[in-house]
Assembly symmetry: C2
Homo-oligomer: 300 residues x 2
């Protein structure tokens, strides 16, 4: 039986009662002294081992309490090939713990290069993600290999639509024929989004929806009623839980239709910046309990 | 003395008399039997060694005849961490041969993630490129860490402006206030482009300009008079040499103002698909001689 990314993810958020996604962003300056090895510089070969230790300790604690994990490729890439080796280990460990993995890599390119990037989803590459974030600026045709892989292998993709950084106004929000550019991207996804919809009613073609205003969530949801929203920036970046789920849809299971990602606040609570293993464990447990409880209330 | 990416690159194209960039895209099905090891599947650990052998043999033959090399990250990523290890070796080998390296990765993200990607340019990561291709869809603020690293370390960046794929019409070409989206991206780069201009008159902030029509080249050049154009798609993808340099500017050294990239036609000439080392060497030498000669005539 081919899995279905959205069905499996929604089934898990229903079971948990919340849509918390753990962003795995190994910011070197935030790694607790407990895990330090060597200089902790990006180019120091020992740093990758420190990151591996961090996740080997953190993932089993997070796993029972999160819907999905989202490693951010940039932080692993910065460590060179050893960082990618750790990323592969993290993905394998997450899978062993029963977690799906969204690889946050914002990839996008043309032709055979897009085919190569689709290796993350099509079973061909050593690193197999359950879903990938992608950038559609170059055009709809660049998404085809990802969509094909998602369909054939039951994987998912999240297309960058709207982010909440100050620069979002530069291009994403610019008006074309009366609608912002990101709405045109959403429109271009509609047919594929429908085609990838599963038994849950949700599609394995989702969007990155880091919207700031309620109207932006509404605009995306209206255009893509079945798309899962990957909502970044919950926690450290400041959005309250209720704002993060504004694009979700009320049904028999409460509000659903996406996942809400917390990275720094979850993985690096300030109380966990210590070399005491017990203190770190309690800080991590408290951070995930707090985030999951806030989101549980927000979607109730 | 801090180097200057654009000055160094232009000095080299003047010396060579042409702007040929060798795209290093290790398409597995195109790798000559001469270099095969094992199954040649992406997930086979032996495949990375085959790719390493290919470049160890090809780079010394290409080096004297090309202005710069441009490895495409996707093809190395597809091989997992072993592929990144080979990418790091290829970059080191190119540097040893006196070649600058444009890492074609089309990265782009917000805040601390953009900082992490800027590790490719800022001296912090094991893999140091001389220039990086980046995607600005998310907003101008996402470029700041790359621009800062370019200024501090004398590196370069090429911002995705215009591509020539069929889907370019979906978003890039959409009209906003009377100009296509890609023109607005060019406008947003203008101040930084000026700030990164060197003694040669050319800026280390360039654009990816895979334009199809002369008017598109002219529009980009008018908006960014000092930007180097990275023109992909010469050779296998079909654009003739004269078309590829339409955005270049005539001066005392002929037409200049960018580099023209050939990937498949240069690295994988059909006559080189063999297990005979001598035949492969002659095919590679002929391919690079043909491409450099065509471009030399086009810029004369």
């Amino acid at each position: 039986v081919v899995p279905h990314f959205a069905d499996d993810l929604i089934s898990r958020t229903r079971r948990l009662g919340h849509p918390l996604c753990a962003g795995l962003d190994p910011h070197l300056p935030l790694i607790p002294p407990l895990f330090h090895r060597g200089s902790m510089a990006a180019a120091d070969p020992r740093t990758a081992a420190a990151v591996a230790d961090l996740f080997a300790a953190a993932l089993p604690r997070l796993a029972p309490h999160v819907a999905v994990v989202k490693p951010q490729s940039a932080f692993f890439e910065r460590l060179g090939w050893r960082g990618i080796q750790v990323l592969e280990e993290v993905v394998a460990q997450a899978h062993d713990l029963g977690l799906a993995v969204i690889l946050d890599a914002k990839r996008g390119d043309i032709g055979s290069t897009a085919d190569a990037y689709a290796g993350y989803l099509d079973g061909s590459a050593p690193l197999q993600a359950d879903a990938l974030t992608v950038n559609a600026y170059i055009g709809r045709d660049t998404l085809a290999p990802f969509i094909d892989a998602a369909a054939a292998q039951g994987r998912g993709l999240f297309v960058l639509a709207k982010t909440s950084n100050p620069g979002a106004a530069d291009f994403q929000d610019r008006s074309i024929d009366g609608a912002p550019l990101y709405a045109h991207i959403a429109d271009a996804l509609r047919a594929s989004c429908t085609a990838l919809t599963g038994a849950s009613g949700w599609s394995s073609l989702g969007v990155v929806a880091g919207a700031t205003h309620a109207a932006e969530h509404a605009l995306l949801r209206e255009r893509l009623p079945n798309a899962l929203f990957l909502v970044p920036g919950y926690g450290a970046q400041g959005a309250p839980a209720a704002d993060a789920v504004r694009g979700f849809v009320r049904g028999p299971h409460g509000l659903e239709g996406g996942v809400v990602s917390s990275s720094r606040a979850l993985l690096f609570p300030s109380a966990g910046h210590t070399d005491d293993a017990g203190v770190w464990e309690r800080a991590l447990d408290a951070a995930v309990a707090r985030a999951s409880e806030e989101l549980r209330e927000a979607v109730a």
